[in-house]
């Protein structure tokens, strides 16, 4: 793979063959030219209607069609929509809650806190029934209203949760009837459940603040307790993506030579304006709403669990949503392209929206400093809170990285974990972890992941996001 250095943080894959635009990869040092993810960046550049660049964030790795860490913006009228550019876990994302609690006071009680969270929030394979199984009408409302549905039923941290959620916690274009019966069956009893794998709920300390002004605006004070929730649309979203891929892949040639020529079948796509494209978008947006409702329900459950474990009132807990971001989504957004506003469908697959200061789409409370960008790390090290920048708006359609990415396969990680007690190793470092699956801790240990500090360092170095705070885990629950 040919790579041309643009600057210390940015490399370009020159246009060739059927690529409509160049590829651009953010990286500390030259990316490995034989990395298959780079070929995926080049393949994405073939998609009809793609604007400016096929982008890759520094946590890029090989995915299905689109690389994970990929960003591609398509002309909203003439461009393509690709389920592979969103991913199976539609609106997998993360939220951070700030609290009034001091980490030093909570640490001696972290076992009780973590155990209560584990009891109250279903995790792992088969996890269900956090709340009573949704009726058909309730599920329809969830798919339409997203987080608002959950807030309406009392699942909240504060009164302004929805303002502090990307898109207010719901995409307006959702089309609940586009979500199949099968997808509904998979999701109906999973609202309020964490899932498994790299999903988690953490009780963190705000370990370091890099930008006092921005951290203060976000409500993140040094030494305070924060809570992170990382989860998505569960079985409902997976089914929507799966069915869409099955429908779109065999039909691409009917949209003309540009579609027929796309080099990877996993880049199954359709014109945004086509019936198939609109059907996917409507279902995807509804699934995204399910994910927001999911994280909102877990927020309510987490608040109650913390109050119960610590025997304090919600007022004393002082929980407040800092922000909620999507990592896997495609959204219609307006961006300046060559000085002119254009309506684009921005695919972010393993990438986070990072809108800069002054943007009206950033909550009023944060408009002066930029949107919070939440970047989870692994359970043994740290996570980061960044802020979006004007440079991100210019270069990446207001997008940043999303996490660390795996270094080892699950098999390799389990081999490395053999004979070790990962729970004990974490406990010795002051981290209480409870997981449902016997293999989870081995599969998810720190050595299995890249260092997220390097990933955010690239974004900061490139001016795409500003470092605001580092969170470190005290208690973790996993599936």
């Amino acid at each position: 793979m040919q790579l041309r250095k643009v600057n210390d943080w940015l490399w370009e894959i020159p246009r060739e063959g059927g690529m409509k635009v160049p590829g651009r990869v953010y990286s500390d040092g030259m990316p490995a030219p034989d990395d298959p993810a780079l070929q995926q960046v080049a393949n994405v550049a073939w998609l009809p209607g793609i604007v400016k660049y096929s982008l890759a964030m520094p946590d890029i790795h090989w995915g299905y069609g689109f690389p994970i860490g990929g960003v591609a913006a398509m002309d909203a009228e003439g461009g393509a929509v690709s389920p592979g550019g969103v991913g199976y876990d539609i609106n997998c994302g993360v939220r951070v809650l700030a609290t009034r609690l001091e980490a030093a006071e909570i640490r001696p009680r972290i076992h009780d806190v973590t155990a209560q969270l584990y009891r109250d929030i279903p995790t792992g394979v088969g996890s269900s029934h956090a709340i009573p199984r949704l009726t058909d009408a309730e599920l329809e409302a969830v798919l339409a209203k997203g987080a608002r549905w959950a807030v309406g039923r009392g699942y909240a941290a504060g009164s302004d949760d929805l303002e502090r959620c990307e898109e207010g916690g719901a995409l307006a274009g959702a089309d609940p009837p586009a979500v199949s019966e099968r997808a509904r069956k998979r999701g109906a009893d999973q609202l309020g459940t964490l899932g498994s794998g790299n999903h988690f709920l953490e009780v963190d300390s705000v370990a370091e603040v890099y930008d006092e002004e921005v951290a203060g605006a976000y409500g993140l004070l040094p030494g305070r307790v924060a809570v992170q929730i990382h989860s998505g649309s569960r079985g409902l979203g997976y089914q929507v993506c799966d069915e869409s891929l099955a429908q779109l892949a065999p039909a691409m040639a009917r949209y003309g030579p540009d579609y027929a020529a796309i080099p990877d079948a996993q880049l199954a796509c359709a014109p945004i304006s086509s019936p198939a494209g609109r059907l996917y978008l409507g279902a995807m947006q509804a699934a995204a709403n399910f994910a927001w409702a999911n994280r909102q329900v877990m927020t309510g459950l987490a608040v109650r669990a913390l109050c119960h474990a610590l025997r304090i009132s919600e007022r004393d807990l002082g929980a407040r949503l800092v922000y909620d971001v999507c990592h896997n989504v495609a959204k219609l957004e307006e961006h300046l392209v060559d000085g002119r506003p254009r309506r684009l469908l921005v695919h972010r697959k393993g990438a986070t929206r990072a809108f800069g200061p002054g943007d009206p789409r950033v909550p009023a409370a944060y408009r002066e400093v930029g949107q919070p960008v939440l970047i989870p790390g692994d359970m043994g090290r740290y996570s980061y809170v960044l802020a979006g920048t004007a440079r991100a708006m210019e270069e990446t359609f207001g997008s940043s990285c999303h996490g660390a990415g795996r270094l080892l396969s699950r098999h390799q990680a389990l081999k490395l974990a053999r004979g070790r007690s990962i729970a004990r190793e974490l406990a010795d470092r002051g981290i209480e972890v409870i997981s449902r699956g016997r293999k989870t801790l081995g599969e998810e240990m720190s050595e299995a992941y890249k260092d997220v500090a390097r990933v955010v360092g690239v974004m900061a170095g490139a001016g795409i996001s500003r470092l605001v705070a580092r969170l470190e885990p005290m208690g973790v629950i996993k599936g």
């Binding site: 090989w62 299905y64 394979v125 099968r182 997976y238 799966d242 396969s409 098999h411 390799q412 016997r438």
Partner: protein
Amino acid sequence: MAPGRGGDDGAVRYALPQPYREIPHTADVGVEVEGASPAEALARLVLAFAALLAGGGAVEVEREETVTADADGDLARTAVAVLRELLYRFATERLIPGACEVVRLDGRGAELRVGFGRWDPERHSEGADVKEVTWHAAGFERAGAGWLARVLFDI
């Protein structure tokens, strides 16, 4: 390994455990199987999937069902379609295949008789939480005198 047993209609019934290889992949899990015939390879692929779900734990067959999947004559697509159907059963009813015979495998798709057992949180605690059966890297081709089939699962 449980050997296949012939049925009245010539279909051979295979039961857990069946041999399979894990395909190295950083984020997800892949399996690869061999078979003397396409039917044997498909049956072993089904049971490799079952072994992932069960985490190596035993599956006690409680009921028999016919599972069909339509596909366009491509064996890899047929295999993915079959596994998608079985994943749906697992996701919604917590059923895991414990035995399988391929009754039909042709240009229209496949029909299987599957002996299902119920997922048990204790016995199957090391099972994988499979999110989806992916199309990428799915393969089903002749290999020497036999057949080789592989699939990647999103975990």
